[in-house]
Point group: C2
Chain length 242, copies 2
């Protein structure tokens, strides 16, 4: 089926998905590009494949063809891909043993990069604070490189979540730029929740107060701090290798 | 002095600095925001402080005041800072012992983040390939968090540079996603050049052929690769801790 009109009601609905409110309400989002579409397909999450009228991409899912003008309208890229998909938000699963909590990250590129590294370093659950940037922001999705489909991601109030995890015997590990235990010297944890904080101000004080210990990354004094996605990745890397 | 006209020839020259060609020709660039301006000031690189007519920021350098309209024109931000500075490009220094070579990175955020981490982990010289994104791109500068003023950065043809460094006894260390030596098991190097590659395709084959060895980062199979700034930072972190 080729859709040519921007006034088509289905196309209007797809355009609305640029707005977080509609993504939340409908539990759906759009992805762009072959790589992301294939990752979502492997997980059975594609509701509809949306192809440029000239594109060839045979997948065993419902497919619509649209004009280049429509692609430009629904895409979030300056140079749109000719392959897009309407995708269901993955269901939340039970919390695993190795949890990453993300407290207030604002930059979608940083959040996506952290999720990509979390998948690489065996984190099984990522918990986003309520003030974190949207997981289904197109920039977040792109930065995950499709890894958001391979990991359990929840959104919770971190404070009450930490209290519950403490009761269940999880080690709660905060992060500070200069205080605590050098992550190189940290012990192995079987059940842990590692908390990383926002770009400007790190992990919130009320959450740090709940932590069993804090980790930091040793570095040269000339540099005040690392990019938050880099710091989070180094911490996960070290815990993965213990 | 308050400048109010966009037709002022000096203001026109400042606006031209948005273009890489003019930055290269004049060996100058613009920075925005208190933090970056202070970092450049510490290194004596500020040629002129540019303040919004209502801003207060007393520094012992030549200062001009401009209207908000002019700030909007010279700024590269959607929400401009009211403190900017015209800065001289730092002089290149002699190569140090711990070199990072950056081969073809395209994203200014990634390049800036890598430079920030390089400063944190005691790299003394960063060498950019000729096809790397511009160091003085406003997004690169922002992502360095001012660290570009604390490290020696050169732009060279990497192939001939590697040959020269090999003669001088440097260990040339390439990076591949899955082949080589796990960086955890790598030996200590006193003089080294670590090469990291571009977002899509990694280090170029002709450069890898010149390497003494390749390093990789062990990770979960579910994830094909890490973000290049994350991977570069983990490698530098490990070499720093050896």
């Amino acid at each position: 089926m080729l859709i040519t009109s921007l006034n088509n009601s289905h196309i209007k609905d797809l355009i609305k998905l640029k707005d977080k409110k509609y993504r939340d309400k409908n539990k759906k989002f759009l992805i762009e590009g072959e790589h992301l579409v294939l990752e979502a397909y492997k997980k059975g999450l594609i509701e509809e494949l949306i192809l440029d009228e000239d594109a060839l991409f045979p997948l065993d899912v419902k497919t619509i063809y649209v004009t280049k003008q429509i692609i430009r309208k629904i895409s979030s890229l300056d140079t749109p891909c000719n392959i897009l998909a309407l995708v269901r938000q993955p269901n939340e699963e039970k919390m695993g043993d190795k949890i990453l909590m993300v407290d207030g990250i604002q930059d979608p590129g940083n959040l996506g990069t952290i999720i990509r590294s979390a998948t690489a370093f065996d984190i099984d659950t990522v918990i986003l604070s309520s003030d974190c940037v949207d997981l289904y922001n197109p920039k977040t999705i792109r930065s995950t490189q499709g890894m958001l489909f391979h990991i359990n991601i929840l959104r919770r109030d971190l404070g009450s979540c930490i209290l519950k995890l403490k009761e269940e015997g999880y080690k709660i590990v905060g992060t500070k730029v200069t205080h605590g235990i050098d992550v190189k010297d940290a012990k192995i944890f079987n059940h842990f929740a590692l908390i990383v904080g926002s770009e400007g101000s790190g992990v919130k004080e009320n959450l740090l107060d709940l932590c069993d210990e804090n980790l930091y990354i040793k570095m040269n004094d000339a540099c005040e701090s690392l990019n938050v996605a880099v710091a989070s990745s180094i911490l996960m890397y070290e815990l993965y290798h213990k």
